[in-house]
Symmetry: C2
Subunit: 648 residues, 2 copies
């Protein structure tokens, strides 16, 4: 039976395979064959060139140097310098922009660091980013989540209250490693690692973190003095309830007033985007008003805690504070890794969002190098981890600022504050900082996104929920790890249990589609047409093998026309890759179908798959050209003709 049919064969050159007719058949058969097209193998490539292409697509998917092609050498040099320092691109055409007063002070408290470190971190990093960064909208500075993670991870080993200097050293060292990790990811072009944080993971994680951050503010908002050092929902609420006697009504009153004010301002800006400056100015206004109130009423004597004296002056160098003691090396590297990747994810995501809004491209890997260097410099100038922050960038964007100059202006404002305005903070009450943080992080709880995820994909919703629950009940890092683990497991599961469908012919066409989806598709008698929708590899060959055999068994035993099933067609259009186990599986399947008197036909293998089938053929000759077709339609047409001709 096999070999009698004529079919176009593929040949080793991969092109111009002529018509190969098995024996001396009637012309009618040749006519039937004339519509056939051969399955081509992609042109032969050496392993080295394939490897090169693979490496290029994996590490240089953006082809960063494509603009350099065919330019004279001097132009290339100028372009190279511009590539490294994007500031040269836009400095000639910068436009001044509104600045946003931001209080890194608040976020420093989240990391259990002295408030002044927050201000320092709002000064140096924006300057560095203005020189190196490629996003025009990104406003950099400390952010809530990275601060929270750094604080919670370092506090596991060292108490910030008992050993403030050591804690500070560890924070700077972690920042150094975070920068190193970020820059390395950029240089090694491993940026795709941050892609493994899916949207669902981030939505759940952010919401959980927002709640954890807000819970931490209960200390300031309720005026509690003896607060737990733990972060989870349960211990914090226990601590709050346990210390009801420490609650201060003056503090709570102030908290409620300013919180209402800030949330109203936020609501106004969200409803009327033109009034974005309302929520942008609200924090500063609150700080000024509350400071004045405390100063005028001497409220610090009525149970309202204040920031207290802060030293004037710019960032002190801190490279002597970097601590590479083996005892703490593991901790700082781990903290650096986690905060580095998290803050990178936030920074790159924010950069991409605004780039896509304004329709320009952000180079992810260059961005990572910029953010990494910014943190390395920061760790030597008394700063902790910084990145691009969504809220600040949004304000920049709404204010219509077009270049990274906004970062410079922000830095200059902070410089003025550091040099001259520090004494004014003495009377700023901690409660107002708490209110500002809550108002800021409340925006991270994105309920519409959660609803959307729920509607779209229940599994994504589960990932989101796990990230959320993990963060609030277990810990920030473990919640994240669980969510990433589930995301990856899900992807693996899709491959381990790939979708396989039985296809049928759509009446009156030569189109074949799956029976479940297309109600007007009909089974072709004598054929079992299957599609596999995943790479065939070690993780699913056992499953595929068992599943296909069961289908064949069911087909053969169903109904009385047992002898009717002649051909099993495997449509490989949706199989992007195959490995050694996959090829063994195909060969085994071929053999076992032959034992049952069936013939296995492969349809439309893609480039890589075809290449490997051909290689297996060279070695063992399992898949002759007459078991390979370009389309299911052609296979069915050709094989039916043949069946009819050979039927008694």
């Amino acid at each position: 039976m096999v070999g009698m049919r004529g079919a176009y064969g593929y040949n080793d050159n991969g092109n111009e395979g002529g018509v190969v007719v098995g024996g001396g058949e009637a012309e009618a058969e040749i006519a039937a064959m004339a519509v056939l097209h051969k399955v081509a193998a992609p042109p032969a490539q050496s392993t080295a060139s394939k490897l090169k292409a693979r490496v290029k697509e994996t590490f240089f998917p953006d082809d960063p140097f494509r603009g350099f092609k065919g330019k004279p050498l001097t132009t290339k040099w100028v372009m190279a310098v511009q590539y490294l320092f994007p500031i040269l691109d836009w400095v000639p055409s910068y436009s001044f922009s509104l600045f946003k007063s931001d209080l890194g002070i608040s976020y420093a408290k989240l990391a259990s660091l002295p408030p002044i470190i927050g201000l320092y971190s709002s000064f140096v990093p924006p300057m560095v980013y203005a020189v190196l960064g490629s996003s025009r909208d990104l406003a950099v500075g400390p952010v809530s989540i990275a601060s929270l993670i750094m604080g919670s991870m370092l506090r596991q080993a060292v108490s910030p209250a008992a050993e403030p200097l050591l804690f500070l050293q560890l924070a700077f060292t972690s920042t150094f490693f975070a920068g190193l990790v970020q820059a390395s990811l950029g240089i090694l072009r491993l940026g795709f690692i941050i892609d493994f944080l899916s949207k669902a993971t981030l939505v759940g994680f952010m919401a959980g973190a927002a709640i954890i951050v807000s819970l931490q503010q209960l200390k300031a908002l309720l005026g509690i003095v003896h607060f737990t050092t733990e972060m989870g929902l349960v211990p914090v609420m226990a601590s709050v309830i346990h210390h009801t006697k420490e609650w201060s009504w003056q503090t709570i009153l102030m908290a409620v007033c300013f919180l209402v004010l800030l949330l109203t301002a936020r609501h106004v800006s969200m409803k009327w985007p033109k009034l974005f400056w309302v929520s942008a100015c609200a924090p500063l206004a609150c700080v000024i008003v509350s400071t004045l109130l405390v100063f005028l009423f001497k409220a610090q004597k009525h149970g309202i805690s204040i920031i207290g004296q802060l030293k004037c002056g710019l960032n002190r160098p801190s490279w002597d504070k970097l601590l590479f003691d083996p005892q703490y090396l593991g901790l700082t590297v781990k903290t650096g890794l986690v905060t580095g990747i998290i803050s990178l994810t936030e920074g790159v995501a924010v950069g991409r969002t605004f780039a896509s809004l304004k329709d320009y491209q952000v180079d992810g890997n260059k961005e990572m190098m910029a953010i990494g260097l910014m943190n390395i410099v920061g760790s030597c100038t008394s700063c902790y981890v910084t990145t691009g922050a969504f809220s600040r960038s949004a304000v920049n964007h709404n204010a219509g600022c077009k270049t990274a100059m906004s970062n410079v202006i922000m830095a200059l404002t902070v410089m003025v504050t550091l040099l001259f305005l520090m004494p004014l903070f003495v009377y700023t009450p901690n409660v107002v900082l708490g209110a500002i943080i809550i108002a800021a992080v409340i925006g991270l709880i994105d309920l519409p996104a959660v609803y959307n995820i729920w509607k779209m994909d229940k599994m994504d919703f589960l990932v989101c929920l796990c990230a959320f629950a993990g963060v609030i009940f277990i810990s920030v890092q473990q919640g994240l790890a669980i969510a990433v683990g589930i995301s990856i497991f899900r992807v693996l599961l899709q491959i381990t249990r790939p979708k396989m469908m039985i296809q049928g012919n759509i009446k009156g066409t030569d189109i074949y589609r799956n029976l479940h989806q297309y109600k007007d598709a009909q089974r072709v008698p004598g054929f079992l047409i299957l599609t596999v929708e995943a790479p065939i590899n070690f993780a699913n060959t056992n499953y595929l093998n068992e599943r296909i055999k069961r289908w064949i068994e069911e087909e053969s035993s169903a109904g009385t026309k047992q002898s009717e099933l002649h051909f099993v067609i495997l449509d490989l259009s949706a199989v992007p890759a195959i490995d050694t186990s996959g090829i063994s599986f195909l060969i085994d399947l071929k053999k076992s179908t032959e034992k049952h008197g069936l013939e296995l036909i492969l349809v439309n293998p893609t480039g890589e798959v075809m290449e490997k089938i051909q290689r297996a053929n060279d070695a063992h000759g399992h898949f002759k050209s007459d078991s390979l077709y370009l389309t299911t339609g052609e296979a069915v047409a050709s094989l039916s003709t043949f069946s009819k001709m050979t039927a008694p």
Copy 2:
């Protein structure tokens, strides 16, 4: 432009979407439309029923109870009993078979356990398996790799020489946990976990393990007394060279002779499969001859070490030796997990191989329960980890044995040995056991398979090499972990950087295939036709976004006919699944192509993808019916007609 074209729309019911013509167009257009087919969504299913189907396909891919359908209740009961105890299936028709004398003694030494434990382990487990197991060819007993891993993991914590009782307790406890893990995987239907050990991983791992095992035999083969307790290639070779003075020429002479004998026997059996009994009987013959030689020449006094006195009697109960002390719990659980999964992989793989040779099905999950229970029972009767062994099963198979009765017979032989023949082992020299082990494990180095992997897939070869190098240079467990990690990383990488191809029309047909693979495929002017060959999810949306935009950019700027590109067609045939991030990506892409005056067309979304596109449509209406087509051919035909009609 959008909306003017007529096209079949999908509708919510998923069938019978009529022709929807946008305006009052000429009949010519309607005629052109008549060839179009609509993209159908799969019939609506509730989340619960989808979840049920997903769970079923994931955990019950073999549909184990399909035979029960439509049978009367009593038959069902009988079948259920037969399902649990496959022995009832074949016992009425068992046939006696040749038995293979096996020396578990040798493998027990690999695990640093007393030789008698190896014999015990060849007695009870085969009996248990004969009752519970579903494979007809599997011969169970101790195997080299699981023995090696157990020995090397436990020795990290406890020295078998210094604390023999504790070591024995830990071995039994690990065996207990191994059985628990195996049975749980079977009961929870999580058997697919062993699928993550790819063929390439196993080939590399086995070869590495064979070398490590052989190296361990150098102690016996060279007669060295002070041997290192480490396993790696480097420390063992260093130890061998360091102790040249301890080498005993008598031992070496004996080693060489028996090794040559055993390898020759092996070679003979491989060349003439009918003579399989030659290599099957060789080990026993060697033991008898060497024992006699030692006894006659009193060779033990000339530097040849012997096994010494072994106690007669059957397995002692050992449940009182199971040690759940928290101090060692972590170690035993970990050892149980690793040895359990490794031995399960071996056992199930061997079972499947022979089942496929004889064309019957082995139920993977039931097999796991059988092996698991066998080990749990074993751990209570002085046995350590056992599983189906390839070499022994091959002998059974060659001997033509058809039922699991062979296991019973083997157990009976071992019973006779245990009861009466133990004193005969007194003079058996250790060197002959070493030679037997080397001859057995040498078959694990499968060079043809390595060459095949190299030819098929360079990346698989790398996995294989890493497993091999990891095992011989680092450690058995870490080598395995590295190889599994690389395999999984590779799968993830394929998804992170999915293949995308530009398609062209194959002349004279309406078939579209990728330009790189099919040389006679031609670009269609005005169209950019892309295929994506992977699920679209969080791990690749950033990449796809950047890559597609770069293609559009290149297309738009290439040549002078810049205005010609009108349509970007995304063929989704090979996209089996999409998640929330993927849907956002499609919506973003739609918007950004519209900004460039292009239109995004989706072709042939599969069931799940179509469903989610439709859901996104319900919410935002991004993908109208006129941007969805069933085939690329129809899309191009329809859109070209339209372009021509609207052209000036």
